[in-house]
């Protein structure tokens, strides 16, 4: 995984970087399986290695596939900031309990209740689903709304409707409509200009 990550940073060819990114996601999905988080691994494999690689490739059709060459002279300040931040983060993890420790705060809070009670309360064996959809129903509703908003946003940004009408089959009516709009705009601009001229006089 570390090798893949370093390779992604060093690579100048964006196509290879995207592919390695997918492999990196797949490897982290494997890591999640090893840590018994099957649901997270599933999501990582489907989203990280699957659809986001495809979306990245879709982006690559819009941009050049080579990274612009930058001057590679040695810069001290960014290196210092990176090393300091990394050291601070690692120092922060020193306080954390060991992985899987029974006394860890995460195992003392509501997790026990969920594991004990959710099969009884909902008859659903997979309590990850119960937590996500029932105990944390509001959060999941929020997430769905976020996905909804993101979809609307991207479709607006990438011009869903206007582009579609601009296709070869429907070109003439759009042309006419655009012309009309321009005329209106022009007329309004002329009117505004004459109005301001009157004001000035």
């Amino acid at each position: 995984m570390v090798l893949t990550a370093v390779a992604i940073i060093l690579l100048r060819d964006l196509f290879a970087a995207v592919m390695l990114w997918g492999i990196f996601s797949l490897l982290s999905a494997g890591l999640f399986v090893v840590m018994d988080a099957v649901d997270v691994a599933f999501t990582e494999a489907a989203v990280g290695a699957g659809i986001s690689t495809v979306l990245m490739l879709g982006t690559l059709t819009l941009v050049p596939t080579r990274e612009k060459a930058t001057d590679r002279h040695f810069q001290l300040m960014p290196l210092l900031i990176c090393v300091l931040t990394g050291a601070a983060l690692i120092y922060g993890t020193l306080d954390m309990p060991a992985y899987g420790e029974a006394d860890a705060p995460i195992n003392k809070h509501v997790a026990n209740y969920y594991i004990r009670e959710s099969p009884r309360e909902s008859l659903i064996p997979n309590f990850v689903t119960t937590i996500l959809a029932s105990y944390r129903g509001y959060d999941t509703f929020g997430e769905t709304t976020v996905v909804f908003t993101a979809g609307i946003g991207v479709m607006l940004l990438l011009g869903g409707k206007a582009k579609r009408r601009g296709g070869p089959s429907a070109a003439p009516p759009v042309k006419a409509g655009a012309g009309d709009d321009d005329d209106h705009g022009g007329a309004m601009a002329t009117a505004a200009a004459s109005a301001s001229r009157e004001d000035a006089s």
Binding site: L55, T144, V147
Partner: protein, 141 residues
């Protein structure tokens, strides 16, 4: 990529199974790993594969942009509607046990979770497909 015969044959063979697997993940999320989100992503991946092989025009014939726009909102409405249904049935918002007659809270939970997961699946499928189509359409012009 229509002229690559291997890609065409293999994708034709795989896509139905991808859809089937997505449906399995969607409705089996109660018993195994998975759920609406993952199912939606797999569904969208299958549509993306179809688009890559057969081109945007044929994909848009099967999944009309208008339909995708409607489905994006439908999923959220199914989720919110389930919540409101619980409210009207006398419970709190998203309190699924109110959905069925009293005495079977587990069945209510099961039904409610199934419904909201379905809503999540629809929204995620539609959003990802819509985003993918938008990228492809943008790249073409």
């Amino acid at each position: 990529m229509k002229h690559h015969i291997i890609v065409r044959v293999i994708s034709k063979f795989l896509i139905p199974f991808m859809f089937l697997f997505a449906l399995y993940v969607q409705f089996h999320g109660d018993f195994g790993p998975g759920g609406g989100f993952q199912a939606g992503v797999i569904f969208a991946s299958a549509i993306a594969l179809y688009t890559l092989v057969w081109g945007l025009d044929r994909a848009e014939q099967a999944f009309k942009p208008r339909l995708i726009e409607i489905l994006i909102a439908t999923g959220v409405m199914i989720y919110g509607g389930t919540g409101l249904l619980c409210l009207f049935a006398g419970g709190h918002l998203l309190e699924y046990r109110a959905l069925v007659e009293p005495g079977h809270p587990q069945h209510g939970e099961h039904l409610g979770i199934g419904l909201v997961e379905f809503g999540v699946g629809i929204t995620v499928t539609a959003v990802l497909t819509g985003i993918f189509f938008a990228f492809v359409r943008r790249g073409r012009t």
